[in-house]
């Protein structure tokens, strides 16, 4: 979901300077968690959708947003929006590229994701050599949003960002 926040470029730049603390190449806009930005002079309200409910990154993102905007003289209030729930479809194309370059395989679409996680089909591309000869090591990875994979050609272990829909 590409959001048009209707905010001046200066504010968008500040917004994009805030990264996901666990995936520092992905900014909050590309992660797709920013639902709405309301600007009233120097007061800004940012509405966020959490990714996974227990994701500790959400609190940090809230603090980071406040800090980033405070450095430019704005005061930020964040609000959590639960509905509709976040999906991996909201990660932008730029965000998916950044993930791949960082060594995390971007989420496949829903059916393919199920084929990979349930039927052990080989569809996830190795982030190191590009081979699809990869296997699922564990459905749960280093953070709530990822699964662990290994490439059977180059043997590289890597993370796969699970599809959440």
């Amino acid at each position: 979901m590409i959001q048009n926040y209707n905010i001046p470029q200066e504010l968008l730049d500040i917004l994009e300077s805030v990264k996901d603390p666990e995936i520092p190449v992905l900014n909050v806009v590309d992660l797709g968690v920013i639902r709405e930005v309301i600007v009233e002079g120097k007061e800004i309200i940012i509405k966020l959708t959490p990714t996974y409910s227990g994701c500790p990154a959400m609190d940090v993102i809230g603090d980071d947003l406040e800090r980033a905007f405070a450095a430019h003289g704005y005061s930020v209030t964040t609000q959590l929006i639960m509905s509709p729930p976040w999906t991996t479809d909201w990660i932008t194309e730029r965000g998916r590229k950044a993930l791949e370059e960082y060594g995390i395989a971007a989420p496949l679409e829903e059916t393919a994701d199920k084929d990979v996680l349930l039927n052990e089909k080989k569809l996830v591309k190795c982030t190191n050599c590009g081979s699809k000869n990869t296997k699922l090591v564990s459905q749960f990875g280093s953070t709530a949003c990822k699964a662990m994979f290994q490439c059977e050609d180059c043997l590289e272990p890597f993370d796969y960002f699970k599809c959440l829909k």
Binding site: P50, Y52, S53, G54, C55, P56, M82, S83, P84, P85, L117, L118, V137, S138, Q139, F140, G141, S142, A144, M148, K162, L164, K165
Partner: protein
């Protein structure tokens, strides 16, 4: 199941309705807190790296879920109560979780069976809660079910692996199934508060899904080549605040910090 209906805006103006809603929510949320705490105990103690990470991931999901429920309760109370007060400062009798989730991590077999018995229920519950008349609960249900299906897949897969594994794993996991079976019925027990919320369309009537639950659990046990216990005597009490002896230890561990240093923060 009742069709979606919107809550009458006056519904929560009645003190009795509000109290019932809060009690109902505690019955739901405390399961996540206590199971999350139990799984958290395994952090760094899993049988190997992958299940260790998976169990703590599930724990994190449960604690994330419970926060949303407690925040909603705090908002309903409208006084100075915070989510932390609800999590850390109640006494044993005030916790409304089912007995199943407080059972100890005896061995990996018990952990998996407890999780599976709960996950099957939880996914059905969150599916049904999506039709709640309460808007906040609908949102939480839509959010939670995505995670719950990952959990059920994990515990179900392990149950099959252990049941259809070696003689040792089969014997031990069968023991866990037999021991924990008596706690499954309580998942469908309703309190007065639950009944009032079912009546109002806020809570799903889980009793209607009970047969389906046992069918699903039975199906997987058969696939796992395990016996379905023929036990007809069930334990209950947790939902009324009457817990097993394990509960005190969990709370002592969990509440120690808040009791020793009141109002301490991260």
């Amino acid at each position: 199941m009742k069709p979606i209906k919107e809550l009458n805006p006056q519904f929560l103006e009645s003190t009795e309705n509000k109290k019932h809603l809060i009690d109902y929510l505690l019955g739901v949320a405390d399961n996540y807190l206590i199971l999350g705490q139990r799984l958290g105990e395994l952090c760094g103690h899993g049988p190997n790296l992958e299940p260790d990470i998976a169990l703590t991931n599930i724990s994190l999901d449960m604690l994330g879920q419970v926060r949303s429920f407690y925040q909603y309760i705090a908002q309903l109370k409208g006084d100075k109560t915070t989510e932390d007060d609800i999590a850390f400062l109640r006494k044993e009798r005030e916790y409304k979780n089912v007995l199943l989730v407080e059972q100890p991590n005896t061995d990996f077999g018990y952990v998996i069976v407890r999780q599976f018995f709960f996950d099957v229920y939880n996914r059905m519950f969150l599916g049904a809660l999506q039709q709640s008349a309460d808007e906040t609960l609908r949102a939480l249900a839509f959010k939670g079910i995505k995670e719950a299906s990952y959990h059920e897949r994990f515990s179900g897969d392990w149950l099959k692996r252990l049941g259809d594994g070696t003689e040792e794993s089969k014997t031990r996991v069968q023991q866990a199934v037999n021991d924990l079976w008596i706690y499954t019925d309580e998942l469908f027990h309703t309190t007065n508060a639950d009944d009032a919320m079912i009546e109002a369309g806020v809570a799903p009537d889980m009793l209607q899904l009970k047969e389906y639950y046992y069918e699903k659990v039975g199906e997987l046990l058969s696939t796992a080549t395990l016996e379905i216990p023929e036990i007809e005597y069930f334990q209950k009490g947790g939902k009324e605040g009457l817990h097993s002896e394990h509960m005190g230890y969990i709370l002592a561990d969990m509440q120690y910090m808040q009791r020793t240093y009141p109002d301490s923060k991260w």
